[in-house]
Symmetry: C2
Subunit: 472 residues, 2 copies
């Protein structure tokens, strides 16, 4: 059904796009952060404008060449590389990085899809506003990919996913037409919600080229604490208590198991740990409060109330911006440590929030039947989102146990499914989980997804094999 | 392409659904709140379960009979009646009114589509939680219709539209399959966003049968004020100032032109007005604050700061729950007064927030060229959403001027379009604005919408003619 990129196709594209759009050094586009089989690359183009993106898609449609939309390359589910099948065209948004406009009074900013997240955050800050999307890869992740995968991160509890931060889109649809949907309106009930359909579709229904994004007032006062909690039940009770005491001011509420600091000690020992002996469970709480409220005092009140209820046994409240940054550095270095340790299988799951402790109690027993593992469980407790990653015991290499990956993933996802959870909370489906989505997904929804894909991309050229498996 | 309901079809349905599902008295299903040509009714069924809804849809698909999903009948854009074409089946959700479950610790409630909004609000309150969707028709509007039209209301500024309050859906798709999507997860990136596609599709892509809804903590302290503002520019400045002073605690920020109280005096004189002479512009501000903050004091501070900047000239802060209710009663009686006066044309529009004053200054001059009108402009300023309604001068009847409706609507919508606004902010498209959507909508989006409709509802039986016009 599809054709590989050929010399003739490359010639056609060269006749339609300026020379600057063609990338010579293409090796980096074949790799993903978690390794695995590299992607095939027929050609990498980086259009300089929406019209050039449209031109590219039209050429690919004429030639039936698969197109892989490419942002910062930070995706964790192999949505940005195509290791098998016909050799695709990689369409990188890296040259479309403009902040097209900032409307501070409206709390709106319009960014092109290639804008890097930290640059969008900085543009918001320059207008005395906050763009709250924040995650480990923010120094390289680009807005198009963040929206295409509906990225999450640490501030979802308060501000929502990427989806919730987007008011409007401009996108090139699979037929090469351009949807001019960059309205910066809070309310717009004019027909089907194409915006939310493209967000999270991982480039399979079109290429996002720009977005109107929501900004927020910068919280007047911020504060951060780490607290040692008795167990995940206590962490949940602490979250509820924090809601009572800090109201709507909780930016982030992160659960960290003892394996996180243990891995950090083993791999990145210069990361400062708040407690000398890694506690079995701790939480990181980040507050952003209105003017006139004192975060340190609020966190102190919270700690005292939690201590009285025997939820927490120890805690530290950041006394400076530097200490605050250290707490966060500890949290954000965990994925780096994980990578250095080398997981057999990593799972980005979500659960009904009240069932998280039960899941955490149950899962180790299920995995024990398969072998001996180290489990690093951490994540965004306030969103019901855990990163539940499984490693070999200390001293064993990832490679020596990688054959168990399939069984481990299946066991974890089966358990998640039985808890009415999700096998993809914030990373997306990509190619890594496309089969699992078929297994665990609702049949009526899967049929509707296939019908939508066939309707909007009848040639199937947009990121084939991501989200929905290739047809036989 | 479609068939009217026949006796044979009615027989088929009677053989598949229990007797209780058939409504004898069907006249009410033909009328809409704003009058106009009544709908045709072949048969009204009110299934008692999701499976009965699916059975109904399957029967309609077999017979190619159009189906009109029917909630509380409060829609303002004629989405719930079909005045022309084949005689449809009306599918009322009125017998599916259960609150299936409440998860207070997770801030989630699962309601059936027929649940009336006030009952959902009450169920949330019984769990010491808030379901913040609130609008004039909340005593009869049902959840399925509210989600189907992505309803707005007075608390969107803080809590979002109906869309933002829904975590999961159960729905019957046009082929009669049931999508079991009632997950109560905050993060779930498993494939295309079918939830947001059905929300706002106005029953044209399936029938919502139940929803998992987001709840919130009840604000500890509430307070309300009305303030006389110099003009819409001053109202916008006051909104920004309120953000600085009250932080994230602003529930609602409503703009009311002098025509509102004038209409109330003329039609519902027992509604208490806060100021004896209707001011040209006033705003109603509603706050919900965390524990320990005093809303009256905050509103006082806001008024003083605004007075110093010459934004406001007079103001009242509610001193009791009764006075608070009176302020709100004034706001919510305006649509009732409008109905008694009788509009030539009503417009539910949204605009980039910072351009609202300019729009309000410009529009009367445009309308002046068409005739002599009274304009009642009011709405949810914080969301950029105005209700811009046009009436004959005092003493003239609606009927004597109704012939101008098309020209007036066109003039207002043309102006909205030139301001990069939306011709439907919170009411939807229905049949009333289906042609205007074709006129003002983005061509690529319209083509995508048509492709999605054809893919999910190839027989075109679901609410034909709503959102997308019937094909020739």
């Amino acid at each position: 059904m599809h054709n590989s990129v050929t010399d003739a196709f490359a010639e056609t594209l060269r006749s339609r796009l300026p020379q600057a759009a063609f990338k010579d050094d293409t090796a980096q586009y074949a790799e993903t952060p978690r390794g695995g089989k590299p992607g095939q690359i027929g050609l990498v183009v980086a259009p300089g404008s929406t019209e050039e993106v449209a031109e590219t898609i039209r050429a690919a449609a004429e030639a039936r060449v698969p197109v892989i939309p490419y942002g910062g390359g930070t995706g964790l589910v192999t949505g940005q590389v195509m290791p098998d099948g016909p050799v695709p065209l990689v369409l990188s948004l890296e040259r479309m990085t403009k902040i097209r406009a900032t409307y501070a009074a409206e709390n709106v900013l319009v960014a092109e899809a290639g804008a890097i997240l930290v640059d969008v955050q900085a543009a918001a800050e320059a207008a005395d506003r906050l763009f709250p999307l924040s995650l480990g890869s923010e120094g390289s992740a680009r807005m198009g990919g963040l929206l295409g995968t509906n990225a999450g991160g640490v501030n979802v509890l308060r501000y929502g996913n990427a989806r919730d931060l987007c008011l409007g889109l401009e996108a090139v649809l699979p037929d090469g037409s351009v949807w001019h949907g960059l309205k910066r309106l809070r309310k717009d009930n004019t027909g089907y919600d194409l915006r939310n359909l493209l967000i999270g579709a991982e480039g399979t229904l079109g290429v996002i080229t720009a977005a109107a994004l929501r900004l927020f007032p910068r919280p007047a006062e911020t504060g951060t604490a780490v607290m040692v909690v008795r167990d995940p039940d206590a962490a949940l009770d602490l979250l509820a208590l924090a809601g009572d005491i800090a109201g709507s001011g909780i930016n982030a509420f992160e659960l960290i198991s003892g394996m996180g600091p243990t891995f950090l000690s083993e791999t990145i020992p210069d990361v400062r740990l708040p407690f000398p002996d890694p506690p079995e469970w701790m939480v990181l709480i980040d507050l952003g409060l209105d003017a006139g409220r004192d975060p340190a005092e609020t966190l102190e009140t919270l700690f005292m109330a939690a201590h009285e209820r025997e939820l927490v046994s120890d805690g530290l409240i950041a006394q400076s911006e530097q200490q605050r940054a250290e707490f966060w550095r500890m949290r954000e270095a965990i994925p780096e440590a994980n990578k250095l340790i080398g997981a057999i299988s990593s799972h980005d799951i979500s659960l009904p929030i009240s069932r998280i402790p039960e899941f955490i109690r149950t899962a180790p027993g299920v995995l024990e039947k398969l072998g001996d593992y180290r489990i690093n469980c951490f994540g965004h407790l306030g969103d019901g989102n855990l990163h539940y990653n499984v490693y070999p015991p200390k001293g064993q290499s990832r490679d020596s146990r990688i054959a168990e990956k399939g069984d481990v993933q299946r066991a974890v996802h089966d358990l998640v499914d039985s808890f009415d959870g999700s096998i993809s909370a914030e990373h997306g489906i990509g190619r890594l989980k496309a089969e699992d989505l078929q297994r665990y997904g609702d049949p009526a929804k899967l049929a509707a997804m296939r019908a939508i894909k066939d309707a909007l991309d009848p040639l199937g050229i947009m990121n084939p094999g991501a989200v929905l498996p290739l047809r036989d």
